[in-house]
Subunit: 276 residues, 2 copies
Amino acid sequence: MKKLKRSARLVEMTQFLLARPHQLIPLTTFAQRYGAAKSSISEDLAIIKEVFEDEGTGELQTLAGAAGGVKYIPKMGREQALHFIEQLCEKLAEPNRILPGGYLYMSDLLGLPGLMNEAGKLFATAFAGRDIDCVMTVETKGIPLAYATGAELNLPVVLVRRDHQVTEGSAVSINYVSGSHKSLHTMSLSRRALKEKSKVLIVDDFMKAGGTIQGMVDLLAEFNAVVAGVGVLVESGEVETEQRLLRDYVSLATLRAVDAKGKEISVEPGNYFSRK
Amino acid sequence: MKKLKRSARLVEMTQFLLARPHQLIPLTTFAQRYGAAKSSISEDLAIIKEVFEDEGTGELQTLAGAAGGVKYIPKMGREQALHFIEQLCEKLAEPNRILPGGYLYMSDLLGLPGLMNEAGKLFATAFAGRDIDCVMTVETKGIPLAYATGAELNLPVVLVRRDHQVTEGSAVSINYVSGSHKSLHTMSLSRRALKEKSKVLIVDDFMKAGGTIQGMVDLLAEFNAVVAGVGVLVESGEVETEQRLLRDYVSLATLRAVDAKGKEISVEPGNYFSRK
C-alpha cells in the first residue's frame, strides 16, 4: 500500500477498524500497511479512540506487549441506546400493527437492515464482556437480528430449523412445548453446525413465555453446549413472572398490552437498562 | 457536537458516512455538526473520497447545488471482488461438504456474517446503478444475504414465507413448481409487506433451474411489482441452459459438478465478472 499522509491514514484506519470488530490488530500491521513508525500509529489510534468514545461508537482497547495491538469493540452509548429504544417502542405502539387474535405485525420493522444492525449493536454492547463462541437463533424472524449481533461481535451464526432439511446433513431434532399455547413443536440442528461445549448467545425477535428459547436451550444440551446469554428484541409483558420459563435475558422492548378493540398498544422499554 | 480538529473530524466523518450508505448528506449537516466552514468540509470529503476510491471501499458522489451534498456508494473494487470470489469457490469446493444425494452443505459459510456482508457488498456493487425499492428473498437460507445487500443499498428487505403465518396478517399465496424436481410448493407474502409497483431486487443463496426465483417473480406480479434484478450466491451449472427458467441474473459462484463417489466438487466463479 502506498505511503499515506496522516489525514488519509486516519480515514483508512477508521474504516479498517470499523470493518473488523472484536479482532486484535497488531500495531505492526498498521505500521507495515502505511509505511509509518509505530509511534505515529499510536498517535493516530489515540485520535480515533477519542472520537469513538466521545461519539459512543465503541471502545478502542489497546493491549501492550509483544502480542499486543488494538481491538475495536462496538458499543452503543447510553444516550444513543435510550434514543433507539424509545423510537423502537414508539414504532411498535403504532395502532395499525394489531392483527386478528391480538398479534402484532412487526415484519416491516424486522425488514429494516439499519434498525436490525442498531439492535445488534445493543446486544453486542450488553454481551461484549462475555465469553461467546457463536450466536444462535431459530428460523425465521430472529435471523436478521442474530446476524447483526454476530457481525458486531465477530461471531458465526448457527441457525436452528423447524424441519430437518436435506441440505443440513445429519441433524439432532427435539420436541418442545410452546409455553403460552402448550402446543408441541419440533426444532432441528445440523450435527456439524455446533461444536461440543460451545458457549452460545441465543437471540430471537419475540419471547412470550419463553418456550421456543427453552427449546433452543434443550437443544444445546444435546450438543453439550451451554447458554452464554439470551437477547430478545421484544418480550411480552402479558406473561406472569412465574409462568416465564426463562429468567436471565436481555430485552429491548416490553409489550405491555394489546387492546384490539380500543386499537391501543402499550409498549415500554425492556430490561436492557435495568439490568446494567 | 463539540468543535473538532481536522484529524478528529476526518475520523468522525468517515464513520458517519460508512454508517449511511446511499443517503444524501447535505454539506450543511457536516458544517453544523462540526462547527466548520463548508470549504473545510469539502477539503475533508476530498481526502475521504481519495482513500475510499484507492482502497476500493466505495465511491463518494458529490452533488452540487442547493439540494446538493455527498453520498457514499459502497462498492467493492475488481481486485478485491476477484479475491473474494476465488476464496468463496475454494471454500465451496472442500470435499467434506458433500451430503447424501449430492447436496452441498453450505450452512457454515452462510453462517459467517462477515462473508455474507462481503457478498452483499458485491451485489450492492453490481446493482448500484439500478432503481430499486426493496430487496426480496424467500426463507430461509437467503435471508442473511438479502439483509447484507439491503444494508449496503439502504433498502428494506421483504421476506416471502413458505407458509402463511398468523403474524403476517392477510397474505397472497401462490403455488410454484420447483424447476429441477417438478414438485409443487407454496409461498406466501403479507399484503402489507410490498407496495404496488415496487421495483424489487431478488436475492437467494442457491439457484438450480430457477423455479423458486420464478415463484417470487410470479408473486411480484400479484402485487403489480416488477423485478429490478436477481442475485444468487451460487448457481448450479448442472442445469442445461434451455432448462433454466431465468436468464438475467448475477451469480458469484457456479457449482459445476459434484462427484459424490470421487469426493470431488468443482466450483467456478459465477457470471459476476462476465456480465460487467
